[in-house]
């Protein structure tokens, strides 16, 4: 008996996932709960286990395809039925012509033109070899896959050619400098897949949905630097350490409570601004695969030390791509800490549908005018990008001013923080 294994509903809101990698092949025997396939949802990589013990009969959703919830990913079943399946596949593999025409309804023929598919090349799975809409879509997927493989092979070949060429040139190089023209430029085409695609889609959505403005300010961090130094000295015996991020989170929370429109979403459909009473702070993490934003919840109820530990935990999980779906949803605002990497300031793109993102940049010692004299102070830029549909410039500046004042006067921050 064959069982269609469909993409399950992995979590609230997710309606499609990309098949990243099959962990089994057609014909493989699997046991119940054996991992079958890795799928990429919104931002998490999820392994789906086999619902039964049996044989993998037919993989319906190939790696790289997007599957919708409820779509059949694979057909599982008992071994003896496999042969019949293969026979059937053979029968429908060649297009069937009737009176020199491919059988297909007018609507399907129009779809073929819209998809730029030569319908004569499509195998029809319908009665008497009719080409159906599903056949066209399957054909399109197969074409894309083939093209990608070709491009991959091409770029592999180019790389191989390049490396052999450079070896051959080694000896020449000892005599003369290689000509710039001697090395043909190589173009590598990397398929937009998995996390990269998720990032690309979300950034495009954010950039073209919400009109962004970025407001930049400079903060004197000298006092906070010395407070943190004193704290870390005290922590030394316990082996614990505190970073700047917990302070930033606390300052952000205080400012958010006073400026609720920055902890909000715009519900376009209903024409309403949704103000959130929970403060879920996304923390942008740079991973080898790309940007991932775990969400830190309940920051207002945690101590600075607890925050430090939680940030550490989430960052580590993100880097290993091991975050649970729940740990990546429900963000209401995002912090992007670019300090460790350098750079002066940036204009971050919103983590849509959030309406604000705070960029935190590297601290630098600078000569500045401090209390009427030139002094060397530790300065840091803050970049706040905000959705101008919801927030006006003045409000954003007042918000940044509040954060700035709290960071510049950590005594005040300690007094006010929850």
């Amino acid at each position: 008996m064959a069982v269609s294994f469909k993409l399950p509903d992995i979590g609230e809101g997710i309606h499609e996932a990309e098949v990243v990698r099959w962990l089994v092949q057609e014909g493989d025997q699997v046991r119940e709960f054996d991992p079958l396939v890795e799928v990429q949802t919104d931002k998490a990589l999820v392994e789906l286990p086999s619902p039964l013990s049996g044989q993998v009969r037919e993989i319906k959703a190939k790696a790289g395809e997007l599957a919708r919830v409820g779509e059949v990913l694979v057909i599982l079943g008992e071994a003896e039925a496999v042969q019949e399946q293969a026979d059937r596949a053979e029968v429908i593999s060649a297009p069937i012509l009737t009176a020199g025409r491919v059988l297909a309804t007018p609507a399907v023929r129009q779809l073929a033109r819209d998809l730029m598919i030569d319908i004569r090349l499509v195998s029809g799975s319908g009665a008497a070899g009719r080409v159906t809409k599903e056949d066209l879509l399957a054909h399109q997927r197969a074409q894309q896959e083939q093209q990608e493989q070709q491009e991959q092979r091409l770029s592999d070949a180019e790389r191989a050619e390049e490396s052999s060429r450079s070896t051959a040139e080694e000896s020449v190089r000892s005599q003369a400098l290689p000509s710039i023209d001697a090395i043909a430029p190589t173009i590598t085409r990397v398929p937009l897949r998995g996390l990269r695609r998720a990032i690309a889609e979300r950034m495009t959505k954010a950039a073209f949905t919400a009109p962004h403005v970025t407001s930049i300010d400079e903060v004197d961090m000298t006092e906070l630097v010395s407070l943190r130094r004193r704290m870390n000295k005290l922590l030394e015996p316990s082996g614990q350490k505190i970073t700047y991020l917990p302070f930033l989170l606390k300052a952000l929370l205080i400012a958010l409570k006073e400026h609720p429109y920055l902890n909000a979403q715009l519900d376009d459909e209903r024409g309403e601004i949704v103000l959130r009473s929970d403060y879920n702070i996304g923390i942008a993490v740079d991973t080898p695969d790309g940007l991932i934003v775990p969400v830190l919840k309940g920051a207002e109820r945690r101590s600075l030390l607890e925050l430090a530990a939680e940030i550490g935990r989430l960052t580590e999980l993100a880097k290993r791509r091991a975050l649970a779906v729940e740990e990546m949803r429900g963000g209401t605002i995002t912090i992007s800490n670019m300090g460790p990497l350098g750079g002066l300031f940036a204009t971050p793109i919103l983590n849509y549908p959030e309406v604000a993102i705070l960029g935190v940049h590297a601290m630098q010692e600078k000569a500045v005018v401090y209390q009427g004299e030139i002094a060397i102070r530790t300065m840091m830029y803050l970049s706040l990008s905000f959705d101008h549909r919801v927030i006006d410039g003045a409000e954003a500046v007042r918000f940044t001013n509040r954060i700035k004042r709290l960071l510049e006067h950590p005594d005040l921050l300690v007094l006010e923080m929850g």
Partner: protein, 472 residues
């Protein structure tokens, strides 16, 4: 409206508001294009004013008289009946008026600007329209030529509008001719000839071919010929026109038939020997276009001409001169201009003849299929076995279906019989959808209707028809 030589910019101009042009205009407007539709006569074109609709009105009147004769047989006793041509023309005019107003309203509702006048191209992107008020000029991004066709004259029997008539003029007669000679054995001549004969005119049809309705299956034509004879129509085949004289209101046409000369006198002569496209006078050379020797324009799968910004649709292009082809081509051209991927890829094109009985065909004939090397299976159902056909008093005719033997996919349907024109729509859908004989025979068709004939024919092709005994 600006008068003078200042060109107005417009996205799409369409020349001709017949079934090709007005449909293209509406579709283009639906797709957001700004459209100027140029028409020298009235919207609706020949189809509405001197073709399909007009001839159907006449045929309907003629059939009414035929029905009256049958009614007597059915037990209806009639004292007297007569045909009043003037009243008929008034009735027909009221229909035409209704339809013309309808098209005008649709064009207006879609925001199409209709300009009444004669168009000619000035340059690659400019067109002039000679209107009653003077010349108007338009600069266009895309153009559609939909100027249609007109009756083809015979060199030795030119139209004079009085005695030697085209179909247009014959349809506008206010008096029934006593004796009508029709030159040409194609559908227009047969449709009008049969109608006039039923209305009381003595009709003689002369064609140069060996038989009427060239290109149609012989078995279909036989049934029509039988009814023509019954209506008193004289048929002269392989008869060539040699000359004519007009004397005292009578035309005497000399025909060459089998080496012998034959003189036929009639008070009216109707010449229906084909139609020619209206492509002269447009100054097509100014847009880089030329026609073939017969005046037709060559187009691609979307109706695009050699000039990428210009499309040609309907009777000015190669293909059967059919209003439904013209309308579809209008939609496709408009969609192509709007950037869509539409194409002329119809699996079949139905043809209907309003003869007595009607002939309607779609798809391949048995002979055509065999010529393509296709093994076919054929089913047929006689109207004489249809309860509905008999109660209509229309038991003549049959429905034939041709399918590919192995796949049973329907390739063609050929019907001769009452309401064949309406029945063929379902067959066209079946062919477009790639339906099989089973798809048709397993679909419930209502009883008692003529539609059962197609279902039974499909069953017969499988050897399982209920209402015919197994052949062989």
């Amino acid at each position: 409206m600006v008068v003078g030589d200042i060109a107005q910019n417009v996205q799409t101009v369409i020349i001709g508001a017949g079934p090709a042009g007005y449909v293209a205009a509406i579709r283009a407007a639906q797709l957001g294009l700004e459209v100027v539709l140029i028409e020298r006569g009235e919207v609706g074109g020949i189809c509405l004013h001197a073709g399909c609709i007009s001839s159907k009105a006449l045929i309907q009147a003629a059939n009414a008289i035929g029905t009256l004769a049958q009614a007597t047989e059915m037990g209806v006793e009639l004292e007297r009946h007569a045909f009043n041509m003037q009243k008929h023309q008034a009735w027909k005019a009221s229909i035409q008026q209704k339809l013309t107003r309808g098209i005008s309203a649709l064009l207006a509702a879609n925001g199409v600007t209709v300009v009444k006048g004669t168009a000619l191209f000035m340059s690659e992107d400019r067109i002039a329209v000679e209107t009653e008020q003077g010349m108007e000029y338009y600069r266009f991004e895309a153009g559609i030529i939909a100027t249609g066709s007109r009756p083809q004259p015979l060199p030795n029997l030119p139209f004079d509008g009085l005695h030697i008539l085209s179909s247009t003029e014959a349809l506008r007669l206010t008096e029934l001719p006593k004796r009508l000679l029709i030159i040409g054995g194609d559908c227009i001549g047969l449709e009008l000839g049969t109608a006039f004969a039923k209305l009381g005119t003595e009709v003689i049809i002369a064609c140069s071919e060996s038989d009427i309705l060239q290109g149609f299956d012989h078995s279909l034509v036989q049934i029509v010929k039988k009814n023509m004879r019954r209506a008193g129509i004289t048929l002269l085949t392989q008869a060539e026109v040699c000359g004519h004289t007009i004397e005292g209101g009578t035309v005497c046409v000399t025909l060459q038939q089998g080496g012998a000369e034959k003189k036929v006198a009639a008070d009216k002569v109707l010449v229906t020997v084909g139609r020619r496209p209206n492509t002269e006078g447009l100054d097509l050379d100014r847009v880089g276009l030329s026609t073939d020797e017969h005046g037709f324009l060559t187009t691609d799968h979307q109706g695009r001409t050699a000039n990428r910004n210009l499309f040609a649709i309907g009777d000015v292009t190669h293909g059967p001169l059919l209003a439904h082809r013209a309308s579809r081509e209008g939609m496709i051209a408009a969609e192509a201009i709007a950037g869509r991927n539409s194409a002329k890829d119809m699996a079949c094109m139905p043809t209907v003849l309003f003869t007595d009985p009607e002939i309607a065909t779609v798809g391949l004939t048995e002979a055509e299929a065999r010529a393509q090397g296709i093994a076919v299976t054929v089913g047929q159902f006689p109207f004489a076995a249809s309860g509905r056909a008999l109660t209509l008093g229309r038991g003549a005719g049959f429905c034939r279906i041709i399918a590919e033997q192995e796949s049973r996919v329907v390739l063609g349907v050929h019907i001769v019989g009452a309401e064949a024109s309406s029945l063929v729509g379902e067959a066209a859908l079946a062919i477009e959808m790639g339906a099989t004989l089973e798809d048709i025979s397993l679909t419930l068709h209502p009883h008692p209707t003529l539609t059962e004939t197609l279902m039974e024919a499909a069953a017969d092709a499988q050897g399982i028809a209920i209402h015919v005994a197994k052949r062989r």
